[in-house]
């Protein structure tokens, strides 16, 4: 520690004495508040919730009690009466689905074998990859079985649809807008501020605003809707159109975040290289592919990771737009846990929350490992 590098004369001035005392202990003092707060608000709740997930909550005279029931809450979600709700309703495994699954399995196996043959094999690496591979296969199976062949995805599948679909679209839009905005245009700051605005609206507010906008009877697009002959069709009754509306709202809010950071990254890229390339007659696509993209890839990967972390927590939009309907088609995992909490199924709620934590952690770690790190390696 460098904390005690300088010793000065003890002084009478109390401010200076506090300063000295602080200097001597700065290592601990500077980081302690953050650590204590995180222990109290993250680690303690995490452990308590773990216990909660193993119990059944019941009201009792003058208070409540928690009966320990082991893994029954989890079993209910994965195999029992809530399976349809969490994993989904399984359909028939068709030929196409089977083929897709086989492809995924082969790809995963190939990646794993390549890793084992490689130079740096460690125990943690093997275990981590096994978990990631198992989860990837499980998710692929889940998708094929619940989305095709007459099945219906549960809150896990729906959450992943939101995360993957939403983040992909938001990234594409954010990047596209950033590229446009990085051109030599006037009023760039105007666009920057305007595009930033959606991020500032409370998600509950966005959800309600989009419910107003998506009203096909008295919303602003009602005449277009009627003109297109859709008055007999309601988006809220079809699973995919309902999910689409949720994702549109999500995209409206979060595209600015990706846009802003990507724009800053593009502005930051080496100018000379670009100009040289343009003089040499490179097309703008070539410039993007060979200069811009490699320069912004690390930022892009990190920002997508941040977005991924937040995307898994989606709740307000489906809750307000559809209350999770039609059926359970738009219910995200956080909403699932929230609804369970509302009826005082605290154990079930914590169990869903824990599954969410598990899925988020594995996804984000895998993304960090396989994407974010790669882009960094490329850079150096």
């Amino acid at each position: 520690m460098t904390a005690t590098a300088v010793m000065t004369e003890p002084s009478r001035d109390p401010a200076a004495r506090i300063g000295e005392w602080f200097d001597r202990r700065s290592g601990g003092l500077m980081i302690m508040p953050a650590v204590v707060i995180l222990l109290a608000f993250a680690i303690f709740p995490l452990i308590t919730s773990a216990y909660l997930a193993l119990t059944r909550f019941a009201l009792s005279a003058g208070g409540f009690d928690l009966r320990f029931i082991g893994l029954r809450n989890f079993r209910k979600l994965l195999f029992g009466s809530q399976q349809y709700h969490f994993l989904g309703t399984f359909g028939e495994l068709g030929l196409v689905g089977g083929a897709a699954l086989a492809l995924v399995a082969i790809a995963v196996a190939y990646g794993f074998v390549r890793y084992l043959r490689g130079a740096r094999v460690s125990a943690i690496g093997v275990v981590g990859r096994l978990i990631a591979a198992a989860l990837a296969l499980a998710v692929a199976t889940l998708f094929v079985r619940t989305v095709t062949g007459g099945g219906f995805p549960g809150s896990l599948g729906v959450t992943i649809i939101y995360v993957v679909g939403g983040v992909a679209v938001q990234f594409a839009l954010g990047l596209g807008l950033a590229l446009l905005c990085a051109r030599p245009i006037r009023a760039r700051n105007f666009f920057r501020v305007v595009f930033f605005v959606p991020l500032m609206v409370t998600p509950v507010g966005i959800a309600y605003a989009f419910r107003m906008l998506a009203d096909t009877d008295k919303g602003p697009f009602a005449p277009i809707w009627r003109f297109a002959g859709f008055q007999e069709f309601a988006w809220a009754t079809d699973p995919w159109s309902a999910r689409l509306v949720v994702m549109i709202g999500d995209t409206w809010q979060w595209t600015p975040f990706l846009f802003l950071v990507l724009l800053a990254a593009i502005e930051n890229q080496p100018r000379e290289q670009m100009e040289a390339a343009t003089i040499d007659g490179a097309s703008s696509y070539q410039v993007f592919r060979d200069i811009t993209w490699p320069a912004i890839a690390p930022v892009a990967a990190t920002i997508v990771l941040i977005r991924l972390i937040e995307a898994f927590k989606i709740i307000d939009l489906p809750n307000v737009l559809t209350n999770g309907g039609p059926g359970i088609a738009t219910e995200s995992m956080t909403l699932h846990a929230f609804i369970a909490w509302r009826t005082l199924d605290l154990g079930g709620s914590a169990a869903v929350g824990y599954m969410l934590l598990f899925v988020t952690t594995v996804t984000c770690l895998s993304f960090f490992h396989f994407v974010v790190r790669r882009t960094r390696v490329l850079e150096t």
């Binding site: 904390a3 300088v6 995490l46 216990y51 446009l180 700051n189 500032m200 509950v204």
Partner: protein, 351 residues
């Protein structure tokens, strides 16, 4: 001028005149794209704004697009929110201001300190100590929840056990964690879904008799936003050359003085961006506020959600509330806008 005459119409439309400008068609498409998205961004806000001036009948008969032409604007919703509800609007509003500002300042302060420390001071935390701490914490939770021990007693026993462990066994342990591990741990806390953490937090504040107070919400928002602050600020501090601090140290300035006098001013863009991001997140937070506040500390997002009554959503009132919620944040953003992008960028580049 002559160069232009040499070019065909096609060239003039599709090829740029020189390296710094764009060809007319490209320019047109660029502006078209940008304005299209501007429309996408602004239209929902415009709709909120005009809805706040509509009568219920006008909303239900809708859609009406242009005030004064399609419908006669009415201030009834604004009157209801500010006059009839009066304090019931202003109280949550000021709650939101106090809580968001308080939490943001605290999170930025505590987070910056930690981030700075992680850049400048080398830490070695023993793995064994961490494991022991977690085991003891789990034991304490078990004792409270299952055995029904009072939490004060359990916490005291747990604390004593941990100290005992640290002064006896801990010395023998060798494996330790470095700064990067600590950083990773801090950031990973952001992954925790609020829905998992909120019940224990509720019980914790209930035991401390702090439910439905500003303190509870400020503390919670500080905690959930700390990871972001540490993440973004660490890289800012890393870009600040260490020489300045060293010379100040030789001059006898204390660490605190260096931090507040030299380091923080240098990190202003990062601070501004982080401040704004955390402010927005705390200002708009709904789920935690729903659990932790009942009346006194109720925040604005709860009030917005509450307009969805059994008589159907009260669009006009809700629109007023959303508009007055967005306005101050937009103002701050315009003020801080030149810092935002730069601030976010550095965090993301190095994170």
């Amino acid at each position: 001028m002559t160069a232009r005459h040499d070019r065909s119409l096609r060239q003039r439309l599709f090829e740029p005149r020189d390296l710094v400008s764009m060809a007319p068609v490209t320019k047109l498409l660029t502006y078209a794209g940008l304005f299209a998205w501007t429309l996408v961004v602004l239209f929902p806000l415009y709709w909120l704004l005009i809805t706040s001036f509509k009568l219920p009948v006008q909303v239900n008969d809708g859609p009406d697009y242009l005030p004064f032409i399609d419908f006669a604007p009415s201030g009834h919703a604004w009157r209801y929110i500010f006059v009839e509800l009066g304090n019931d609007t202003l109280r949550p509003y000021f709650n939101s201001v106090i809580i968001a500002l308080g939490a943001t300042l605290l999170a930025v302060l505590i987070g910056s300190l930690a981030a700075y420390a992680l850049v400048r001071i080398e830490y070695r935390v023993k793995v064994g100590a961490v494991v022991a701490f977690l085991v003891i914490l789990a034991g304490v939770v078990w004792a409270i929840a299952v055995q029904g021990l009072p939490w004060t007693l359990s916490a005291a026993i747990g604390g004593a056990l941990f100290v005992l462990f640290m002064v006896t066994l801990a010395r023998r342990l060798r494996r330790h964690l470095g700064n990067n591990d600590i950083l990773f741990w801090i950031i990973s806390n952001r992954v925790l879904p609020p829905v998992v953490a909120v019940l224990p937090i509720y019980v914790m504040f209930q035991q401390l008799r702090l439910l439905d107070t500003h303190v509870a919400l400020i503390a919670t928002y500080t905690a959930v936003n700390l990871p972001i602050v540490v993440w973004l600020m660490r890289d800012f501090f890393a870009t600040i050359p260490v020489d300045l601090e060293e010379s100040a140290q030789i001059d006898g300035a204390s660490k605190l003085r260096i931090f507040f006098g030299i380091v923080l001013p240098l990190a202003k863009p990062g601070l501004a961006a982080t401040f704004l991001l955390v402010l927005i997140l705390s200002w708009n937070e709904y789920l935690l506020a729903l659990f932790l506040s009942t009346a006194n500390a109720q925040t604005m997002p709860l009030l917005v959600a509450a307009q969805n009554a059994t008589r159907g959503p009260q669009w006009w009132y809700m629109s007023v509330l959303i508009v007055i919620m967005i306005a101050p944040v937009v103002a701050i953003t315009v003020l801080l806008q030149k810092y935002i992008a730069r601030g976010l960028l550095i965090g993301a580049v190095k994170g």
